[in-house]
Each structure stands twice: as C-alpha cells, then as structure tokens.
C-alpha cells in the first residue's frame, strides 16, 4: 500500500512540476520587456500585452475595493455584534451558498444586472462588480476566522479602559486581526486573477487600453482563452499562461507567508 500511495503522490506532484516546466519551456522565451510593456498587434498575434495587464489590474483592483469593505463589514457584524440566533445562522447559510455558485452563473447575473439593466455595458465596472460578489465569501470567511482568533482579553481590556465597542474594534481587534484580514484579501486576489467565465460575460474582450471604468477590457485569463481557442499564437498563449500562473502562484505564496506569520504568537 505504501508503495502505491507513494507512487500516486509522486505522480500528482509531478503533474504540477510538468505543468510549470511546460509553461516555462514553451513560454519563457516570449516573456520579454517588450512583451510585458508593448502594445498588441494583429489581435495579439504579435506585440505585447500591456493593455491586458492594465485591464487585469484595474478590474481586479476594483473588485477588491468593493469586496473588502463589504466582506469585512459582514464578518465584523457576524463576529462582533450579532447575537447568535436565526439571523446569523441564515446569513451564514446564505454566504456559504454564495461560495458554491459556479462562476458562469455570476457571469449571467452580472450580464443581466450590470451590463444590460444598469447600462454599464461590457466594462471594467461591470466586471469588477461581478467579481466582487464572487470574492465576498472568501473575504468573509477569512476575516471571520481572523476575528475569532483575537483573544477575548484584548476586547475586555479595551472596554475596561473605557473604549466604546467600535473604538475597541477599530483600535484593538482589527489591529490584532490585520494579518488574517490581509490573508483573505490576498487569497481573493489570487482567485480574481484567474477568473475567466464571469469576466468574459461582463467585461468583454476588447484588446484596447481602457480609458474609463466604462471601457471594456480584456484580462490575462480572457486573453489566454482567446489566443488559445482562436489559434492566434501558441507561443504568446504560453507566455501569457506563464505570466498568469506566475502571478497567481506568487500571490498564493504571499498568502501562505502571511498566514504563517499570523499563526506565530
């Protein structure tokens, strides 16, 4: 049994190594400064991906800007203010259900509400708003965990010194939970970077440089999808995949380091 399970573990970890090796082998040669900072030409067959990087940054940044306050506020309410009961149980069940919704469904919703009804069109704003909803469960869960790990004595100490509840939360509890909250933000960032289906339906796939929140934009993930399925340039598709995976893994590594730091007493 030991041999079989070990062979399995070698295979599975080999998959990751093989995948990364493949992306590096086929894509690294194309990842140059000109590629990262150049404008695309001929629908992405040549030239660089600067507008794609800018669109990705704006779309993901906008999503975090929306999801963090809403998610952290929700977590603060559930952990610090709400009394246990039906309301809290109901809200937990609903945010858990939100976590299970497939990304294409978020895309449909964002298309229906933001793109059509609110008239934002295929735009960074529509994409960010849609993505923010997808990220909410991650932000809520990690923030709740971070808040739950703050020792009660800190809250009691602050109260004993005459702080109001909100002062205690703002000055003491949040400070102590900061690394946990940040971890949640970084995990959400990693997920947002790779999201494709929902973004394709709400932000479109325009390859131009975005000029306003209502500009359409093409993220790295969508760019990779289009390069690959339309057979435009395999080399540039590998290069885009490499940049995307490197970004996601770097972000996840940062989250892991933050988590490890947060666990140290």
């Amino acid at each position: 049994m030991k041999a079989i399970l070990s062979a399995l573990a070698v295979t599975v970890t080999g998959l990751l190594a093989g995948l990364l090796g493949l992306l590096v082998r086929k894509g690294a040669a194309f990842v140059t400064v000109d590629f990262l900072l150049g404008l695309p030409a001929r629908a992405g067959q040549s030239g660089g991906i600067l507008p794609v990087l800018v669109s990705t940054g704006l779309l993901v940044g906008g999503a975090l800007l929306l999801a963090l306050p809403l998610g952290a506020g929700t977590a603060l309410y559930l952990q610090e203010y709400a009394r246990p009961g039906r309301l809290v149980e109901g809200l937990r069940a609903l945010t858990e259900a939100l976590a299970g919704v497939p990304s294409i469904i978020f895309g449909l919703f964002g298309f229906s509400l933001f793109v059509i009804r609110l008239g934002w069109g295929w735009s960074l704003a529509s994409g960010s708003a849609t993505l923010a909803l997808m990220l909410l469960p991650t932000v809520i869960r990690t923030t709740e965990e971070a808040l739950a790990a703050v020792p009660r004595e800190l809250r009691e100490g602050a109260a004993a010194l005459g702080a109001t509840r909100w002062e205690a939360i703002r000055r003491v509890v949040l400070k102590s939970a900061a690394s946990g909250v940040l971890t949640g933000a970084v995990l959400a960032l990693g997920r947002a970077l790779g999201e494709t289906a929902a973004v394709l339906l709400t932000a479109g796939s325009d390859l131009g440089m975005p000029t306003s929140p209502l500009s359409p934009g093409r993220t790295m993930a969508v760019h990779l999808y289009i390069l690959a399925t339309e057979g435009l340039s395999e080399g540039r598709a590998y290069a885009t995949a490499l940049v995307l995976v490197a970004a996601v893994l770097a972000v996840n590594l940062a989250a892991n380091l933050l988590m490890a730091r947060g666990q140290r007493p």
């Binding site: 203010y81 939100l98 509840r165």
Partner: protein
C-alpha cells in the same frame, strides 16, 4: 456603526438570493422549453437534455479518476508521509488547486486533445479529455477535505486496529476509511459540485457538440459550456434559454452543496 455593519451583512446575504432571482427571472420564458432533447436555436429548439447528459458524463468520468486518487493522496499525507514530507507536499497540492482553470484548458487543448486524437482516434475533443482535465482540477479539493476527515479521527482507532494484529492496509480499509466516511463523502460531493460548475477548462477541450455522447471519445457540450459559448450573441428567446440553462445548473449545484452540508453534519 452597528447599523452600517448590519447593512453590509444583510447585503452580502441577499447577494445569492438576488443572483438566483435574476437568473430564474431572465430564464423564465424558456424554462418550459429546456427539458427537450434538441438544441437548435435557429429552429427555435432549446432543449438542454444533451448538455445535461454531457455535464453528467464529464463529471462522472472526472470523479471516477479523482476520487480514488484524491483519497489516496489524503491517505498518503496522513498514513505514509513523514510530517516533513507532508509539509512539503501540501503547498504543492494547494498550488495545483490555484492554477486558473483557463490554464488547464489551454494545456488540455494543446497536449491532451492531440494525444487522444493520435492515440485513441476520434476528434480528440471529447468527453474523455474533459473528464481528465476536470479530474486534475478537483483532485486537490478531494485530497484536502479528505485529509481533514482522516486527521479528525482519534489516533486510538489506528492503534487499536494495529494492536489487534491488523496490517496497516487492513487498518485503513476496515477501520479508518469507514470511520471517516461522512467526511470523505463531503469531500467527494464538494468535488462533484466543483466539477459540475467548472466552465472554461471543459469548454476548451470537449468540442462542444450539442448532442448526447455515445462513447467517451465523442465530443460533448456541458451546461456551463452552452452558456459560455453562445451568451455573446444570443438575443430574445435564445438568451432566455441560456439563462434557463443557468437556472438548471444553479439548482443542480445547490442540491449537491446541500447534500455536502448534510453529509458533513
């Protein structure tokens, strides 16, 4: 401050209800038509039963591979690997889970599809390709949740079995796996939910022919793929049918997730 935070929490809780309401409302005009055997938008036929069959076939194939491999990985981490090796392997599994689905789809498209075409015949774009790519994607989920389930068992279970003269394999098969059953079922059902909802990777390798597959080498279209393929240009009843496809998918995934919650209790 409490009222602001409560408003955040209520908004976050309402999100999933709003999403479901929008998708169902937009799909309502076509809800009656989707339970038909033929999808031919130009002829006004909007039956998604072939896509339902496609989704189920690809998901079943993926689970047939990922469940034994995922639980095997969980056993490797809990029973075989020394703690130091486990600490090294776990982040690799996490990294495998973090790779964006569009990257899996891209690698599947450039390597797996041609390999299937050469080695096994058919177009290469197939239910088999979709199942293989999905298996790699859900394996980390099953391994991680399965590991938690096995770790939650008291060490006395294993020690007792070994003391009674069981071999390690007998202890695993007769004592540990049955004792961890509810957690392992949760792992499988979570993987199932993820596989059903996955869009991009499957879309890129299954060929997307809207007919029920007769063999694993036939191309298939999944419910998610149906939405992503045609949403860009659908109008009127066609668009409503895509939202109805989404409503069906959402109902399926919600049922599966409710089952997972029940199993974990």
């Amino acid at each position: 401050m409490q009222s602001v935070l409560q408003a955040c929490a209520l908004a976050a809780g309402a999100a999933v209800l709003l999403i479901a309401a929008f998708v169902v409302a937009e799909g309502r005009p076509a809800l009656g038509a989707v339970f038909g055997p033929v999808w031919d938008p130009e002829a006004g036929a909007f039956g998604v039963l072939p896509m339902l069959a496609g989704s189920l076939a690809v998901t079943a194939g993926a689970l047939a591979l990922a469940v034994p491999a995922g639980i095997g990985m969980a056993l490797f981490l809990t029973e075989v690997a020394p703690p130091a090796l486990g600490t090294a392997v776990r982040p690799l599994l996490q990294a495998l889970a973090g790779v964006p689905s569009v990257v899996y789809g891209f690698v599947g498209l450039t390597l797996l599809v041609p390999a299937i075409r050469r080695g096994l015949g058919g177009p290469g774009f197939s239910a088999l390709a979709g199942a293989l790519v999905l298996a790699v994607m859900v394996l980390p989920t099953i391994a991680a949740v399965g590991e938690d389930a096995l770790r939650a068992l008291p060490p006395t279970f294993r020690e007792g079995a070994l003391a009674l003269g069981a071999t390690p394999w007998q202890a695993v098969r007769r004592v540990l796996l049955p004792a961890a059953r509810s957690g392992l079922v949760t792992a499988v059902v979570l993987g199932l939910g993820r596989a059903l909802g996955e869009t991009m990777a499957v879309l890129m390798v299954t060929g997307n022919v809207a007919a029920a597959p007769r063999s694993p080498l036939d191309p298939v279209r999944t419910l998610t793929g149906n939405i992503a393929m045609e949403m860009g240009y659908a109008v009127g009843q066609h668009r409503a049918a895509l939202f109805a496809t989404g409503a069906l998918l959402l109902a399926l995934v919600m049922l599966v997730n409710a089952a997972a919650r029940r199993a974990s209790r």
